[in-house]
């Protein structure tokens, strides 16, 4: 799975949870400042991403994921099956 594939799949999750248009979900976007996503919805996004990508996102890592790019990189490094 390429980072672009991960981004596309991640954008679907962000749409499901926060109703953000997937075309706006690009790597530089910040969850709080750009999308107004609160901490509860971030937990939802993380658990949905765990299910979708088969990775584990510990709470300690979640707080460091400020942008869409942070999340995509984390998922890629966490070893999504290529």
């Amino acid at each position: 799975m390429t980072e672009n594939d991960i981004l596309a799949a991640f954008a679907e999750i962000v749409y499901d949870v926060a109703r953000i248009d997937p075309t706006l979900v690009t790597p530089e976007k910040r969850f709080v400042d750009d999308f107004d996503i609160d901490s509860l919805s971030m937990v939802e996004i993380a658990t949905a991403a765990e299910d979708k990508f088969g990775v584990s996102i510990p709470d300690s890592a979640l707080s460091d994921l400020k942008t869409v790019g942070d999340a995509v990189n984390f998922i890629a490094k966490a070893g999504v099956a290529a």
Binding site: A18, R19, S39, L40, S41, V43, E44, T47
Partner: protein, 410 residues
Amino acid sequence: MTVRDVVVTGMGATTPLAGTLPATWEALLAGVSGARPIEAPWAAELPVHFAASAAEEPSVRLDELTARTLDRGQQFAVVAADEAWADAGTPAVDPERLAVVVSTGIGGLNTLLDQYDVMRERGARRVSPHTVPRIMPNGPAAAVGLRLRAQAGVHSPVSACASGAEGIALGLDLIRAGRADVVVCGGAEAVIHPLPMAAFASMRALSVRNDAPEAASRPFDKQRDGFVLGEGAAVLVLESAEHAAARGRKPYARLAGAGITNDSHHVAAPDPSGAGAGRAMTLALRDAGLSPQDVLHVNAHATSTPAGDVAESLAIRSAFGAHAEALAVTATKSCTGHLLGAAGALEAALTILTMRDGVVPAVRNLDDPDDDVALDVVRVEPRRMTIRAALSNSFGFGGHNVALTIVEAA
């Protein structure tokens, strides 16, 4: 200090009859029933498989994200509050002088039970982080408060099926005490779900007239056998008379008084003498500075249970004495079903519309009035009459009794 007059300047509701208050009122006058079979497969397993479900899904009036993060009861509350707020002309009010009192009888049970299923099937980590804000009994109040940016205080008194009326009584107190100028108050409920349906049925509180849901809610009728569970919300905008006058708003009516008592008799059964409920009515009249003879109409709590309706008729007689026979009594749950924590707010709104239009809705299904009910209950067709003052009664498990006095606007 003079007591501040409190007026009603806006109203909204989403009910088993319609998605708005005006459409609910129209359906009520036409004698429509909101009771219908529950199509979901789980209903077949229950002793009762019908309910007065909402006529309109609340999500159709909300943006997707709002709908997604709120429990169904919160959705109803927000829809009714939006309607009431617009109906009041979206008052310009200092947020620190705007309060919210939205009650529920039970809280976010759909979310609670659905998330319990999620936990059992998929594990604790899959439980939604939105669960707590959705299930807390103050959830509907909090959702409305956030939407309107109310900062004077957001409250949710809980007294089972009297909750909505008690919320309005608290709103009255907040304005009288000078703690707010505008209070958005009411009730919301959404518990048409297998567990509460089974639980109310176990109490033998629900009608089991499965073959004819529309005939099941029949307050004061000899053949009544329990209430019909409803869902929805109703919200009123209360305002100090000065505040409404300053912005040139003509009120619907004046909320002139409230009476709150407790039976102290049994957790679920009404005191058969109706003494506590009668005292609530007496206090509501006294609070409004009225004598029994000033009132011509009562919107009864009358849920269609065998014990409750007779106890209420005795209570009305104890509060009004011989004048009870001059009252035109109605029981709107015959059409709407019983909206539990929203019922008191809905019936306050319907009482106000009864006065505005000078027409008392007829009790549906009252084919053979109970001989033990010595009241003039309006049946067959609505009755035209001029009403300057009326009471709306609400009672709840726990022995709660609330009566609200509504008087025509000056």
